[in-house]
Each structure stands twice: as structure tokens, then as C-alpha cells.
């Protein structure tokens, strides 16, 4: 029983991570209002690209 991992636990991890994204955005925008300007958001989106790509590969390898 203890080792059973359900899809809901995986979903909970994802939701937690997305909540983390929102919290970090709020915290950093309070620390520096320039953080949530349009250009900063666009640059941030572009900076996510390499992390997302290598993350997809790593996730597949972990599975």
C-alpha cells in the first residue's frame, strides 16, 4: 500500500509546482516591479525554453 503511487499524487505535484510559479512571480514582482513588465515576461518565457526542452528529455529518461 505504502509504495502505491496514484495519478492524483502526480497531479498534486504538478499543482504544487504551478502554485510555486505564481508565488514566485508575486514575490519577485514585489521585490522589483520591473519583473512583471511585458518585456521581462517575454524574456522570461524565452529563458524557459532550454530548461523545458532538457527537462522533457530528462523526464523521459527518468521514466
Amino acid at each position: 500500500m505504502g509504495k502505491k503511487v496514484t495519478i492524483s499524487q502526480s497531479a498534486a505535484s504538478v499543482i504544487t509546482a504551478f502554485v510555486g510559479v505564481v508565488i514566485l512571480m508575486i514575490v519577485f514582482s514585489f521585490m522589483n516591479p520591473n519583473f512583471i513588465k511585458f518585456d521581462s515576461i517575454m524574456a522570461l518565457l524565452r529563458s524557459i525554453v532550454p530548461y523545458l526542452l532538457v527537462g522533457i528529455g530528462q523526464a523521459t529518461a527518468f521514466w
Binding site: 505504502g2 498534486a12 504538478v14 509546482a17 514566485l24 523545458l52 526542452l53 532538457v54 527537462g55
Partner: protein
């Protein structure tokens, strides 16, 4: 190597990465290549992969999302994808169920290497040259994006959508701490703690609860 000879994945990854870096250093005597310039094809390459925009969003973002969607479909709705999940969950049970473990393992690593290849192209488009120091620590970024997004390092669980969240957390932390003028040393400490905490949380969760080793 991992599928056929059961080489530990981390050793295989770090070993082949070092070999690849060595070959790259040999190819150009450990110097960065010349800039690919901004003439016709070179500029088109940079625009398509990094600097250009489509519908107001950088092309790199679209490329990453399309690749994510393709692999989400393959891993969730195809037999090969289910086999990859199955061997991660319980390799012996998967083998007894008729899954070709070697083929599934090979496919998983092909997906991984394809993603690394596209990341290399994006990095090349960004810098405009073959940079000998490019991609340093990306193995750590890869692990971080996956584990923060809830992908289990023990295999067999996690959702690919989590990688979007994991990569976002990682990028926001890097960018936000830079905006906040936090020294690099503290940045590394915060980010390292986050990764270790995520893996620790996953291990404890997979074991049901933390059970200290019984004294003999």
C-alpha cells in the same frame, strides 16, 4: 549501454557527456567557432530558433511547446509511451508482460537525446557561434526542471505537464534572484536546496513515510 549492459544511467550520461565535450574541444582546438554572422541563412536560422516572433511570442517558445505536445501525445497515448512508463514503474513486471525493455529504454534515451539536440540548436541560435562553455550545468537544469515538476527520479510516475511548471520555477528563480541582485553564491545555494528538497520529498512520498533503518 543502459539498456543492453545495464550501465547505471547517471554514469552513462556523465561519461558520454564528457566524451562529447572532448570531441567538441578536439574539433576546434578548444576554441569557440567563428560567429555564424547575420547573412541570409545564418540570420534566418537565428530568427527561426531564437530571435524571431510568431503571433507576438518568440519562436523558441513555440518550438518548445510543439515538442512538448508531441512527446505528451507519444508518452500518454501510444504503446511505446506506455511501455516507457511501465519499465520505469516496475521493469520486471513490464518484461514479464511482454514489454521489450531494451527497445523501450532505447526509445526513452532517443527522446532525451533529441531534446538535447534541439536545445543545442537553440543555444547556437542564441549565441551565434559554437561556444565551448555552452551547455555547462545543463544536466543539472534538466534534473531540476523534471524533479521540481513532480517527475519521480525513481521512475514510473509524474506528468509531463509538470515539466512546464518545473522549468518555469527554475527560470523564474534564476531571473528573479538576478533582478533582486542576489549574489550568485546565494542563488546557487537556494536553487540547490530546492532540487535536493524536491528529490527528498519524492523519495519519502514513494516510501509512504520516512522509516529510519532498524538497528541490528
Amino acid at each position: 549501454m543502459v539498456g543492453k549492459f545495464k550501465l547505471p544511467p547517471f554514469i552513462a550520461t556523465l561519461g558520454t557527456m564528457t566524451i562529447g565535450r572532448g570531441i567538441a574541444q578536439l574539433a576546434n582546438n578548444n576554441y569557440n567557432t567563428d560567429n555564424i554572422g547575420s547573412a541570409g541563412a545564418a540570420q534566418a536560422f537565428k530568427d527561426i530558433l531564437y530571435y524571431g516572433k510568431t503571433a507576438g511570442i518568440f519562436n523558441g517558445v513555440w518550438i518548445a511547446l510543439i515538442i512538448w505536445a508531441i512527446f505528451f501525445y507519444i508518452l500518454s497515448f501510444t504503446r511505446s509511451g506506455r511501455h516507457i512508463y511501465a519499465i520505469g514503474s516496475n521493469v520486471d513486471a513490464a518484461r514479464l508482460s511482454g514489454v521489450n525493455v531494451f527497445a523501450a529504454t532505447t526509445k526513452a534515451y532517443m527522446v532525451s537525446s533529441f531534446c538535447a539536440f534541439v536545445t543545442g540548436l537553440v543555444t547556437l541560435a542564441q549565441s551565434g557561434m559554437g561556444d565551448m562553455s555552452a551547455g555547462m550545468s545543463y544536466e543539472m537544469y534538466a534534473v531540476a526542471a523534471a524533479v521540481i515538476g513532480g517527475i519521480s527520479t525513481l521512475g514510473g510516475s509524474g506528468l509531463l505537464v509538470g515539466v512546464i511548471a518545473g522549468a518555469s520555477v527554475w527560470a523564474i528563480l534564476q531571473s528573479g534572484l538576478t533582478f533582486a541582485k542576489v549574489p550568485v553564491a546565494y542563488r546557487n545555494i537556494v536553487i540547490g536546496i530546492l532540487v535536493v528538497a524536491c528529490v527528498l520529498f519524492d523519495v519519502i512520498r514513494r516510501n509512504g513515510t520516512h522509516r529510519p533503518k532498524a538497528k541490528s
